[in-house]
């Protein structure tokens, strides 16, 4: 319901020419900033899409790249929860597994198309996420982290012990079909990139909508959010299911990138921890964060392939150093100059009266 719609005009009546001009300059600037953001994303994704055309790019590079993309998508999913709502899940490996098995089983038993598999995975994870949200959202902070950790663990034991899921032997799949065409490394890479583009676009829209604002309001100051009219439970449940659904997409891709799923892989709760880590290292505030984090988490063991334990140690060291020196994540470090520049431009236009106090790092 809306109240006193006439107030808007009242405000406008109080403005003189000068302020009106300033308001419109500010609006135009804001629009330009948004255009620049979109342009940067178009460039990045364009490059990713045409990458297979370069002769030096080999098939194995593309499947490695697909793996990175899968992690980025999963991390974007976790970001919606951790970054936007401030709720922490250490159990998203569970949703990854749900997505993977949904798609894998459908392909195995019904021979569905990859596109159908991905959509089914998305829906399945989203629905289960919504159901679980009802339990987990009764908990706050640390309690929820432990609850979700238990969930991932639970999914692992189910996969291991119920014969339908074929336990540690796993499910071996045949080739992937997209819209009737059989695809290989190149094709799968393109499917992954398209998924990534769609998910990124969605997350961008989410951030720049009232819904995203409500999520972030709950993260930063719960009481203030409620005082702004945000229904806490409703929006948290929404965030939780969106987050689960996105992770489900990553799960489906994960099953098909190697055409194999097994409980061995998904029962490992440290899978969940890895995704969370990607978000923390990359940063969960800017969309760039999961890109950096996903890349880091996948590529680190890749480079230290011969020294699995050493990559563990490096992961730990990097994580601790990032938390200590760049708590907002690596992406924040990259983006900070840009943000500062925009702030300065607007201050000059808007006629700031604050003695310049450089933003400090918390």
């Amino acid at each position: 319901m809306s109240i006193n719609n006439n107030q808007n005009t009242d405000i406008q009546a109080n403005q003189n020419e000068e302020t009106r001009a300033r308001i419109s300059t500010v609006k135009n600037l804001k629009r330009r900033f948004v255009r620049n953001d979109v342009l940067a994303m178009v460039l990045l994704f364009g490059l990713m899409l045409i990458a297979p055309l370069f002769p030096s790019v080999k098939g194995w590079m593309l499947s490695q790249a697909s793996l990175v993309i899968i992690y980025i998508i999963a991390a974007l999913g976790v970001m919606v929860l951790v970054g936007f709502t401030g709720l922490v899940s250490v159990g998203h490996g569970g949703f990854l597994a749900i997505g993977a098995y949904t798609s894998a089983l459908l392909t195995l038993h019904l021979g569905v198309d990859l596109v159908v598999g991905i959509i089914a995975a998305l829906l399945m994870s989203g629905l289960i996420g919504a159901g679980l949200a009802l339990i987990f959202l009764r908990l706050s902070g640390a309690f929820m982290a432990i609850g979700t950790l238990g969930f991932a663990f639970f999914v692992g034991t189910i996969l291991n012990n119920i014969p339908f899921f074929q336990g540690r032997d796993g499910i071996l799949l045949d080739a992937n079909f997209v819209l009737g065409f059989e695809i290989y490394d190149h094709g799968f890479y393109l499917v992954s990139v398209v998924c990534l583009i769609l998910v990124t676009l969605f997350v961008y829209m989410l951030v720049n909508s009232g819904t995203g604002r409500a999520f972030m309001a709950l993260r930063d100051a719960e009481k203030a959010a409620m005082a702004s009219g945000v229904n806490r439970l409703k929006f948290r449940t929404l965030a939780f299911s969106i987050s689960a659904a996105i992770t489900g997409i990553a799960g489906a891709l994960n099953a098909h990138v190697v055409n194999y799923v097994s409980a061995e892989v998904f029962a490992d709760i440290w899978y969940s921890v890895d995704i969370l880590m990607a978000v923390v290292v990359g940063g969960s505030v800017a969309i760039l964060g999961p890109f950096v984090g996903g890349f880091f988490v996948v590529m680190m063991p890749f480079y230290f392939e011969q020294l699995a334990d050493f990559s563990f140690i490096m992961k730990g060291v990097v994580l601790i150093l990032v938390l200590r020196f760049a708590p907002a994540g690596v992406a924040e470090l990259i983006l900070r100059p840009l943000k500062n520049a925009r702030r300065t431009i607007l201050r000059n236009v808007g006629g700031s009266m604050v003695e310049t106090k450089e933003p400090k790092d918390d």
């Binding site: 432990i146 334990d309 140690i313 730990g316």
Partner: protein
Amino acid sequence: MLGQQILSGLATGSLYALTAIAVVVVFRNTRTINLAQGDFAMVGAFLGIIFLKEWGMNYFAMLALVVLCCMALGGFVERVVMRPVAESDWLTLFTTTIGVYYILHGMAGWIWGRDTKAFPVSFEATPVEVFGALISKGHLYNMAIALLIGGVLWTFFTKTKQGIAMRAVTDDPETAYLMGIPVKFIVTLTWVMAGAIAGFIGVLMAPIIYVSPEMMDEILIKGYVAAVFGGLYSFRGAVIGALMIGVAENLAGGYLGSHYKTSVAFVMIVVLLAFRPQGLVGIQERREI
């Protein structure tokens, strides 16, 4: 049969209880969910093998030395890793312990290898009879040590100045600081204590589950779940929760089949939290976390 299931459930439960107590100790005073708690114990177990096999120490000297080493490890982690981020939000604290987890995990794998190792000491498998139920000597011994540690902790928290000060810090760190209680020292002490408990757990667990970098993962999760039973604040709740998990797990294993054994903890936590989000003992969270 039932009595026996319950008794060995209590025996495993008492080890979960120790883990849960260590989790609660750290959480109460530092808002940190310590994911590396299990790894302290894992390091302790590996050290135990070295002390026994390579240094030829006897069991009790080994136990004492392992506990000392784990205390040092706990203190070291607090001073070097946790203190610089101590003022951060709980997620940062939590993820920092993930970093510690990765490092300890990787180091253990690097130095000692990924294969499971047998712990040289194992107690005679011959069961003894307690109240008509049969239980192995190892289990009995574990329960006794767990009880002993529980008693020592209780005395520490109620009878000693540092123990009371630790509770005061839990209660209201700002006022504790005003009273002249060195809050930072107490926090270090907290981690040292968590290390000590981990040392015991490592040595007690090792003969039962073998030694490997991953040995504590599952137990740690059950320790967490138990800690949540007490609302993460109450020792009593954590112990009750841990014993319940131990017993329920054993009963499920005995009557439903061992497949279901490991899921019991999760199902229990879901049921509990659905009805009592504050935990079993109903202690309200006092700090915003």
